[in-house]
């Protein structure tokens, strides 16, 4: 079960793609939904968004950055090996409709999450302007795929090694000056989503973000994934993961993401020692 049928390394090996055999999930998954995976019986349950789905082949694709012990173990799994558990599709699917002109902003592995949503928006007849950001040109992923589903594609790098030298928010401001935008979708690191939302709030442009709090079950039974949205507590795994970017308490989310920092370090050290 849950055999890896394809594996690719991206961004100089810092990001890994797995295509996994999971027919039941592939039959139902929609853009914006995620799965929870466990590499082995002792492993942690890790949420990852489905970057692609092939319902005929019965496979799902995940793209993840190696940031800690669990993603490192995932990254070591080879074609032919299997995940111990894959659960999904979880979370609400993105509500996709024709909004005229839309801007899709992606950063880091958020681009992988953004891809199926962008494709959906394009298929629904939107004019899609995409802005992608990364630290440098070698860490940028899925540029070709994003180009295919966008009418205009802007690239930004923090070090200027490719495209605009600076942040996605610089380009976004520019675009919003010139164009009449119906919707902005922003997926990436928390600070990126926060600053995008600050810009679009001023202009009153509806903005969707996808949140990545720490999760356990992914089905609403633990409350570990709670986020404050518009002053109300929401469970990101069932009420989200997408929310109105203008209503999210990003500072609380950033803090909650540090809950296990010390344990994560212990885990990683123990894992590196082996």
């Amino acid at each position: 079960m849950f055999k890896i049928v394809n594996r690719e390394k991206m961004a100089q090996g810092t990001i890994v793609l797995n295509e996994i055999d999971a027919p039941r999930i592939a039959r139902k998954a929609k853009p914006g939904q995620f799965v929870i995976l466990q590499a082995n019986e002792k492993g942690e349950r890790i949420p990852l968004t489905m970057a692609d789905v092939d319902s005929e082949k019965g496979t799902i694709t995940i793209i993840y950055m190696i940031v800690g012990k669990s993603t490192r173990i995932f990254g070591n799994l080879q074609v032919g090996e299997s995940y111990y558990a894959v659960i999904g599709p979880l979370g609400k699917a993105t509500h996709i409709e024709n909004r005229g002109k839309v801007v899709c902003v992606g950063g880091g592995t958020g681009i992988a999450v953004l891809h199926p949503i962008t494709r959906g928006l394009k298929q629904a007849g939107n004019e899609v302007i995409t802005i992608l950001g990364s630290r440098n040109k070698d860490l940028l992923i899925l540029e070709d795929k994003m180009a295919k589903v966008s009418d205009t594609l802007h690239i930004c790098t923090d070090d200027g090694s490719r495209g605009h030298h600076g942040f996605v928010t610089d380009v976004l401001k520019d675009v919003l000056e010139k164009e009449d935008i119906g919707l902005v979708v922003a997926i990436g690191p928390v600070p990126m989503m926060k600053f995008v939302s600050m810009i679009t709030r001023d202009k009153g442009i509806e903005t969707l973000v996808s949140l990545n709090p720490i999760m356990v079950d992914g089905t609403g039974m633990c409350g570990g994934c709670r986020v404050s949205v518009g002053g109300e507590t929401k469970f990101a795994c069932v009420d989200g993961p997408e929310f109105d970017g203008h209503a999210v308490d990003y500072d609380e989310l950033s803090k909650r993401l540090t809950a296990y920092q010390e344990d994560e370090k212990i885990s990683m050290d123990a894992c590196q020692a082996v």
Binding site: K42, I87, V216, G220, M221, G223, K255, R256, A259, S267
Partner: protein, 470 residues
């Protein structure tokens, strides 16, 4: 049969050997160690073998209590286990977790003047003996009927339905959201109260009998009930429990360090965080821990926190000792292990530092006023009695609600206003044809034995449906 004891003097009730409190509050091994065969026989001989046994009336599934106890007294331990299985699929579990003091033992005639028969200990003894020695025969599976049943959820009610229907010759598949079967028995109730090897062995028996288990299947997400019917299932049983945590909606509740009991216990039990970093999932090891609530869940959380190395663990409850709903044994064990009960006290808000981590909890003293609808005296806040308890971990254990994930995806199953599935009390039938439901998803969080009882009634009704029609 056992000779009735003519004498008025009763032998004293068996004392369960236990790990000492100051040893066990540092490990996750089971607390009560079990009776020896001699102790069990002696205890069994205390039973008067009543003609009209009151104890049986106190048992929600009417276990033939004098019947199984007589077999223990005769030394026929396997016979006792077989007798138990007639009414109860999981005696090793029920012997450990039933609130005996308000059920079977609470009704025992001997309890009127002295100590009731230790029915729970004896039930546990017979079941453990049969499991450990593997001598009792498995039930005989009837000839295959060719009918397929889907059981959703592998808690005690789902396991009961699966066991009953496989024996009656139907094909049974359990769909479980988690990667392991057992429901609350594996993710909620801790190892020191119910060893997971017992649950695993019960599940193993079902697999041996032919039950198919599809773990990692969230019905409502991975597959819907209607799709199960399309796949050829003839009947569906919904036993998904009351899995949604309730929070108190107090300021500061999203600080790092405030947990639902579900999360705290799932990390510790199912994900085995008490063995971190051997297992990858971490759990916070609080120094000064506060548990809100006073049921079994709260006691489990408090005793877990102690075992994870807390310096102090306080159970904060808004009513008084008499209203604490946990099993008597759990309250007793918790106190012995050094857990403080702060009664007639209610939380008001949580305080944190700049990093968003919990540092304390403000609470308010309460006093008891007039009885409310439940007949319990209503707690009323004492004005101006606010004070702060410093703490770095709070576990909220104030109840659970039904998870709407499955029912949202199945709009033709009627719910009551709390979101519980409406099911016929005698048969478990829901408003959707071919679908039954039972256990906590119908009643709200109750007990293992009630969930199993509901499972048994539904299994009978499903069997009738599959052989006779709806």
């Amino acid at each position: 049969m056992v000779e009735k004891k003519g004498k008025k003097e009763q032998a004293p009730r068996a004392k369960m050997p236990e790990q000492a409190p100051d040893v066990r509050n540092k490990n996750f091994l089971e607390v009560p160690l079990g009776l020896t065969p001699d102790m069990a026989k002696m205890e069994a001989e205390r039973c008067l073998q009543c003609k009209k046994p009151a104890c049986v009336e106190g048992c929600p599934v009417s276990v033939d209590i004098p019947g199984f106890i007589a077999r223990i007294a005769q030394g026929d331990f396997d016979g006792a286990a077989v007798k138990l299985w007639e009414r109860n699929a999981l005696p090793a579990v029920c012997g450990r977790v039933c609130p005996q003091e308000i059920q079977c033992e609470g009704n025992c005639i001997l309890g009127k003047k002295g100590d009731s028969v230790a029915i729970g200990y004896l039930e546990r003894f017979a079941a453990d003996h049969a499991r450990e020695n593997g001598t009792a025969d498995l039930p005989v599976v009837a000839e295959k009927t060719g009918k397929k049943v889907a059981v959703i959820g592998s808690g005690p009610s789902g396991l009961t339905v699966a066991g009953d229907l496989i024996v009656k010759g139907h094909d049974v598949t359990i769909f479980e959201a988690f990667h392991q079967s057992g429901g609350v028995l594996v993710y909620g109730i801790p190892e020191f109260r119910l060893p997971k090897s017992i649950v695993a062995s019960e599940v193993e028996t079902l697999v041996t009998l032919g039950v198919n288990i599809e773990t990692n299947s969230v019905v409502g997400a991975t597959v819907t009930i209607d799709e199960l019917f399309e796949e050829g299932y003839d009947a569906v049983y919904v036993g998904v429990g009351a899995g949604l945590p309730r929070f108190m909606n107090l300021p500061g509740e999203n600080l790092i360090g405030v947990f639902s009991a579900n999360e705290y216990l799932t990390r510790t039990n199912l994900m085995k965080a008490y063995r971190f970093p051997e297992y990858d999932t971490p759990v916070p090891r609080g120094r000064n821990v506060v548990v809100l609530g006073a049921g079994n869940v709260a006691m489990d959380a408090a005793r877990t926190a102690m075992r994870l190395g807390a310096e102090s663990v306080k159970v904060v409850y808004r009513r008084s000792r008499a209203e604490m709903p946990a099993r008597a044994e759990e309250l007793h064990h918790a106190e012995e292990e050094g857990i403080e009960f702060i009664l007639l006290t209610n939380p008001v808000q949580f305080f944190g530092n700049d990093n968003g981590r919990l540092t304390g909890m403000e609470c308010l003293k309460m006093e008891l006023g007039e009885p409310d609808d439940s007949g319990r005296r209503r707690p009323i806040a004492v004005e101006g009695s606010e004070y702060t308890i410093p703490c770095d971990l709070v576990v909220v254990s104030v109840g659970a609600q039904p998870n709407p994930l499955l029912t949202n995806a199945t709009p033709d199953i009627s719910l009551n206003r709390w979101g519980n599935i409406v099911a016929d009390t005698a048969t478990g039938k829901t408003t959707k044809k071919g679908v039954w439901a039972g256990g906590d998803i119908v009643t709200g969080m109750a007990t293992v034995i009630l969930a199993m009882g509901a499972g048994r009634e539904s299994a009978d009704s499903i069997h009738d449906y599959l052989t006779l029609g709806w």
